[in-house]
């Protein structure tokens, strides 16, 4: 797939692409419209983002709980680094076919945090256009990785958002490249956090690479199905679509690192600073991964 299919996280890149934005009719928005956010309607079962507590709860109590507790036996460090109130941007490494890491991070916050909060997981725009995914993913808390979405969640709604700056480059990489971080996009995630003035919480996850190892990418099948990528894993594709869920029982370890705060206004306009911080976040996650791997004695027992 060409590089242009990537989802940029910075608002600047988007604005310029926009067509027909009202040129002369002034459309300047006052910055803080937070008090005009719609009130909650208690009779509704979905949020305005399409999230369903019912479906999410049902998944959480069954499938997710099983994987978290018994299959991956997840261990969590530094959960106190996730703030109890206000927005925060969680940034994590990303790997594996149909990656289980996002769900496990969300589950860790729900299980271990003193104030459990819902986590919004950013996903590629691709999923909004693919039947099935388009229907299910928003219901369980996935949001398209559009800079405006991230900003609204972080700044206006003061929520937790999880991004994977590696994006597809992370999930496409093969087993032989495990735990080596890919390039971190163009630093759009740092810009988003700075603009919303919320902290970045780096997260390192060990286990996802072994739980769903990718041995090869199958270009032909990818083109036939129109999917983002079609990996060859221990159980897929020869066990059918459900083989995507055939995770190996690797031990999961999640570590939430010290948050990075951005307290000055307009930091996001300094592109040099944005790049430096992006590099720094990447280095912290990579360092933490190597540290966790060095002390790990077994892939399956930790």
């Amino acid at each position: 797939m060409p590089e242009s299919a990537r989802t940029p996280l910075s608002p600047r890149e988007r604005r310029e692409e926009g067509l027909g934005s009202a040129g002369a009719v002034p459309a300047v928005r006052p910055d803080d419209l937070r008090r005009h956010l719609p009130a909650l309607e208690p009779d509704r079962t979905l949020t305005d983002w399409g999230r369903s507590e019912r479906i999410e709860g049902a998944m959480d109590k069954t499938l997710v709980d099983f994987f978290y507790r018994y299959w991956f036996r997840a261990e969590v460090e530094g959960i106190e680094n996730v703030p109890s109130t206000g927005g925060a941007l969680l940034v994590s490494n990303h790997a594996g076919a149909l990656p289980p890491d996002a769900t496990m991070i969300a589950k860790a916050i729900r299980e271990e945090h003193p104030h459990p909060r819902p986590l919004n997981i950013t996903v590629e725009h691709f999923f909004k256009g693919y039947p099935g995914f388009s229907m299910l993913l928003p219901k369980i808390g996935a949001v398209a990785a559009h800079p405006a979405n991230v900003h609204r969640l972080l700044y206006d709604e003061q929520q937790l958002v999880l991004v994977f700056p590696e994006g597809r480059k992370g999930t496409e990489k093969l087993y032989k490249d495990r735990y080596r971080l890919r390039r971190f996009g163009r630093g759009g995630f740092v810009e988003a956090a700075m603009r919303a003035r919320v902290p970045i919480v780096p997260v390192s996850v060990v286990g996802a690479e072994e739980a769903a190892p990718v041995f090869a990418q199958m270009g032909l099948l990818q083109r036939l199905t129109g999917l983002l990528y079609v990996p060859l894993t221990p159980t897929f594709p020869h066990l059918g679509p459900l083989g995507m869920l055939g995770y190996l029982p690797a031990k999961f370890k999640l570590r939430f690192l010290e948050p990075i705060h951005f307290d000055e206004p307009d930091m996001h306009t300094d592109s040099g600073l944005v790049q430096t911080v992006a590099q720094d976040v990447r280095a912290r996650i990579q360092e933490s991964l190597f540290d966790m791997l060095a002390t790990r004695r077994s892939v399956w027992f930790g």
């Binding site: 926009g18 300047v28 928005r29 006052p30 005009h36 305005d48 725009h125 979405n149």
Partner: protein
């Protein structure tokens, strides 16, 4: 600047008529002139109807002669199922250009209000979840109606640029729901089952027809230049809409080859215009906070608009027989407005016998049960409610009905 002399284009459209009625109730507005090709479809008291199409020379003369200070353009066609594409293009693009030509260049017009649509943003895979007014579409439009809307807005933007002395407001309305208005989406939701594209559950935001009129009124009465999204609070999933209407949804449209399947479904008489297919796949949400920050209050949330529509759909078969539709008779209207023999300044109040004993504003009122009446009340105007209260007191005298009317009246009094 407060509008005193208003010209409404598209008087015979549903919105033109409703807006004219709303402005008639405002004593600060001294003159209301409505123009259109066709005669108005609602009874109007003091609005003057002039049969002018989109000829800008004639419009200009009307504007200058009547010293119009505000032009409200309600003509835009946003539904390709109700108007043929060529007519829609003529109306939306050429018509807008002509009306703008009649308003600028040192004329008396100081304010221009343009009714547009959130079709401006389209519905695409890489959309944000909430469009705000500064955003454009990520891809060029693929349907004729969306192209028209973009072109019309472009000429309005150009007009605003060239005429800085005119305050230009553009309102982009989401899909409208309501008992009286007729759109493809309402027909679609009125089907026994709500068709969906297999594997998609799009997000939908609506606006109630009353809020559309109130929003147009709000920008006419206040000085609010700029672009505003008008959409009720709350974005619903289509499956949620179906369950609010008490219907099942039927994923009968295939995810691939949807266009072909839609053509087949259209043969069966279901209106699925091209611009609706994109919405059925990707949905759309807009950020409505800018208009709220400008002091506008919505009467309905998206959910409440759907619930109100559902109540209307259930009651509709009970209300047998259409009322005699209003027909514009030029001679009668002119007599009522200008003849020295008309004694009463508000001639319409004369119709029927003394107030209180006149016919109720609801058809077949006497056949309805108390419950049916109460569910109807929220759709009535204040004056109708008062008439209904008097009628009920004089005839049935049911306490629950009178109580419900009183509480509604009290609520509308506090709401202003």
């Amino acid at each position: 600047m407060r509008s005193r002399r208003v010209l409404i284009t598209g008087l015979s459209t549903y919105w033109g008529g409703r807006l004219a009625r709303a402005l008639e109730a405002d004593p600060q507005v001294e003159a209301i002139v409505g123009v259109d090709n066709e005669e108005p479809g609602v009874e109007l008291e003091r609005t003057e109807y002039v049969k002018v199409g989109n000829q800008h020379g004639l419009l200009r003369r009307v504007v200058e002669a009547a010293e119009i200070d505000t032009v409200v353009d309600t003509r835009l066609v946003v539904d390709s199922a109700v108007t043929a594409p060529r007519l829609a293009h003529e109306n939306n693009v050429i018509g807008t250009m002509n009306i703008l030509a009649a308003c600028g260049e040192g004329g008396p017009v100081k304010k221009f209000v343009f009714k547009s649509s959130t079709h401006f943003y389209g519905a695409n895979q890489d959309d944000p979840a909430f469009f705000d007014e500064t955003m454009g579409r990520p891809h060029p439009p693929r349907t004729a109606i969306e192209r028209d809307i973009l072109e019309a807005e472009a000429s309005v933007a150009e007009f605003a640029d060239r005429n800085p002395e005119v305050a230009v407001s553009v309102l982009r309305f989401a899909n409208v729901l309501g008992p009286d208005v007729d759109t493809s989406h309402i027909d679609f939701l009125g089907l026994p089952m709500v068709p969906m594209i297999l594997g998609f559950d799009p997000r939908y935001q609506f606006v109630h027809e009353d809020d559309v009129v109130h929003a147009l009124e709000h920008v006419t009465q206040n000085d609010l230049p700029g672009v505003f999204n008008v959409a009720a609070d709350g974005v619903l999933a289509l499956s949620e809409v179906a369950s609010l209407l008490g219907k099942r949804y039927a994923p009968i449209l295939p995810p691939w080859g949807t266009g072909l399947a839609a053509t087949a479904v259209r043969r069966l008489g279901v209106k699925i215009p091209a611009e609706m297919l994109a919405q059925l796949r990707f949905g759309r949400g807009v950020d409505n906070r800018r208009l709220k920050a400008a002091g506008f209050e919505y009467g309905y949330t998206s959910r409440e608009a759907v619930v109100a529509l559902g109540e209307h759909m259930r009651l509709h078969p009970l209300l047998r027989g259409d009322p005699e539709p209003y027909r514009y008779e030029r001679e009668v209207e002119e007599f009522l407005r200008w003849s020295p023999n008309v004694r009463n300044a508000r001639p319409r109040a004369q119709v029927g016998a003394s107030p209180g004993l006149s016919a109720p504003p609801v058809d077949h009122y006497d056949d309805l049960t108390a419950e049916e009446i109460i569910s109807l009340l929220s759709s009535l105007e204040r004056t109708d409610l008062e008439a209904l209260r008097d009628y009920e007191a004089a005839h049935g005298g049911r306490h629950d009905v009178i109580g419900a009317i009183e509480s509604l009246l009290a609520r509308s009094a506090t709401a202003g």
